[in-house]
């Protein structure tokens, strides 16, 4: 005991050589941290960003490789598609000018249509042997690879900018959001694999409900890449619509709903929209929620069209959503989400019974990517 106490006293300020060494080291640490504390903190942060960036690069490269393999396997191109794929990953779509917002929706829709046609043509050139379903799946695969490439490039930009300017705030803002970005990148990496083999994804919850309702009924194409079927539910005529499957597709459901309303000259009692929605932490995956409004994501063009059409005809619109997080939405469909389809159908029937009369027309729209879901 005496020996230990003596040792501690010696280390913390004894007059012999050990005490001097400890005191000098202590003072050294104090001075270094006083003058270079922020710089050390910055270096630690930079190191952390660098480690994540390295992982992002690996995820991006793996995604690119997987996309390339799928194109070669399915599309059987005559030459090497590598250069074309690399060019595709760098594609950009420039948003229309919004200084005068009037008519911007139609301008944006035009840009998106041109982009879509261009993407499809590119994929057809890369994979000449692929059929329509495979082309849609390949397009989705390449879009996931594009998203991974973009995430990597943005993080790299901030990392290099932070390193160049040695600004703590640039590095800090990227370091703080890194966990969320990594989660998103991993979700896209899983999505890419799901798209490459045509597996249904969580976002297809709405399409799955619509498919279950319309299965066995005659379908027709009501808008580009959107199919509709006339189904009798509880004595009402339901026009069920979804994106045309089983290829990866979201279609133009807004256009489809607008066309159906025009076809029925506005005589629609209610519209029920089913979509996947982002859950908050703590909420259960696959839980179902109900409300009003156009349940549809994306750039907003389709939502605008639906809202415009229902306003003209004063049609009430109901929403049913299946909760999931971003990772679930783009990765293979979880069992909980798949099993949520039947409770959603029950809710649709209850809504129809409560909100409409016998003989009324209703529209049921299943929104989302229909990859791996037929009709």
């Amino acid at each position: 005991m005496y020996m230990l106490l003596h040792l501690a006293a010696m280390l913390l300020g004894g007059n012999d050589i050990i005490g001097w060494i400890v005191q000098i080291i202590f003072l050294g640490f104090f001075v270094v941290f006083m003058f270079y504390g922020q710089r050390i903190q910055m270096m630690v942060m930079l190191r952390e960003v660098e480690t994540h960036l390295r992982r992002l690069k690996l995820i991006r490269d793996d995604g690119r490789k997987k996309a390339m393999e799928t194109i070669k396997e399915i599309g059987k191109p005559s030459g090497d598609p590598t250069e074309r794929i690399d060019q595709f990953l760098e594609y950009i779509a420039i948003e229309p000018q919004s200084m005068d917002p009037s008519g911007i929706v139609w301008k944006l829709e035009h840009v998106l249509d041109v982009r879509d046609v261009r993407f499809k043509d590119e994929v057809k050139l890369m994979a000449p042997e692929a059929d329509e379903t495979q082309i849609n799946n390949l397009e989705n695969t390449l879009e996931a690879a594009m998203a991974l490439n973009m995430i990597y490039k943005v993080i790299r930009h901030f990392y290099l900018l932070g390193k160049k300017t040695l600004s703590l705030y640039i590095i800090m803002q990227i370091q703080m959001v890194l966990p969320l970005i990594m989660k998103q990148a991993e979700a896209y990496a899983q999505a890419l694999r799901a798209f490459s083999v045509g597996q249904p994804i969580g976002d297809g919850a709405g399409a799955l409900v619509a498919a279950k309702l319309m299965h066995g009924h005659k379908t027709r194409e009501i808008a580009r890449d959107v199919v509709a079927a006339k189904v009798s539910i509880e004595g009402r005529t339901a026009y069920v619509l979804k994106a045309k499957g089983p290829g990866g597709n979201v279609g133009k459901p807004g256009e489809g709903i607008k066309n159906l309303i025009e076809e029925k000259k506005g005589k629609i009692s209610t519209i029920i929209m089913i979509d996947a929605a982002l859950k908050l932490e703590g909420e259960k995956v696959g839980s179902v929620a109900e409300g009003v409004g156009a349940a549809i994501g994306g750039p907003g063009v389709e939502q605008f069209k639906i809202e415009d059409a229902i306003l003209k005809n004063k049609i009430p619109v109901n929403a049913i959503v299946v909760k999931q997080d971003i990772g679930d939405a783009v990765s293979p469909m979880r069992k909980e989400i798949f099993e949520a389809a039947d409770p959603v159908i029950e809710r649709i029937k209850r809504l129809i019974m409560e909100r409409t009369k016998k003989g009324d027309n209703v529209i049921i729209a299943g929104i989302g990517n229909t990859i791996g879901i037929g009709q």
């Binding site: 012999d16 050990i18 045509g198």
Partner: protein
């Protein structure tokens, strides 16, 4: 696709020099400790040097091992995806792993019981025990 990010796992020469200095100082402390123990002079100081020497040695070896280059690789956990097939006539159910080009409502294969064409009724990812 130029790569401008250097390998995060490469040890910097500066760090290697620090480790080397640390290593030499630890060896020196050990040497002093052993020498004073053999000569039986100033026993308490020799134990302190022994402690510092071992601690420094362990720390420098640990730092060296940590800074060694490791092969970085992505390990994405791929979930198992299940396809359920059902016979529309006799309700016979069959479950198998997902195959490329499977899709919900696809008619594929024949029923083991009544030889009717089976239909895919479900495709989903197997639930993990830890998932919320």
């Amino acid at each position: 696709m130029a790569d401008t990010v250097k390998n995060a796992r490469n040890a910097s020469p500066f760090l290697l020099v620090i480790i080397l200095v640390f290593f030499i100082l630890s060896l020196a402390a050990l040497f002093i400790a052993v020498q004073s123990l053999i000569e039986q002079t100033d026993n308490l100081n020799s134990y302190s040097f022994l402690l510092i020497g071992f601690f420094g040695l362990a720390l420098s070896i640990y730092m060296l091992l940590q800074s060694r280059g490791k092969q970085a690789h992505v390990t994405l956990e791929l979930p198992r995806v299940i396809t359920t097939l059902e016979c529309p006539k006799c309700d016979f159910k069959s479950i198998r792993d997902f195959k490329r080009d499977d899709y919900i409502f696809k008619e594929t294969g024949s029923c083991q019981k009544c030889n009717e064409t089976m239909r895919i009724t479900a495709i989903y990812r197997e639930a993990k025990k830890k998932e919320s």
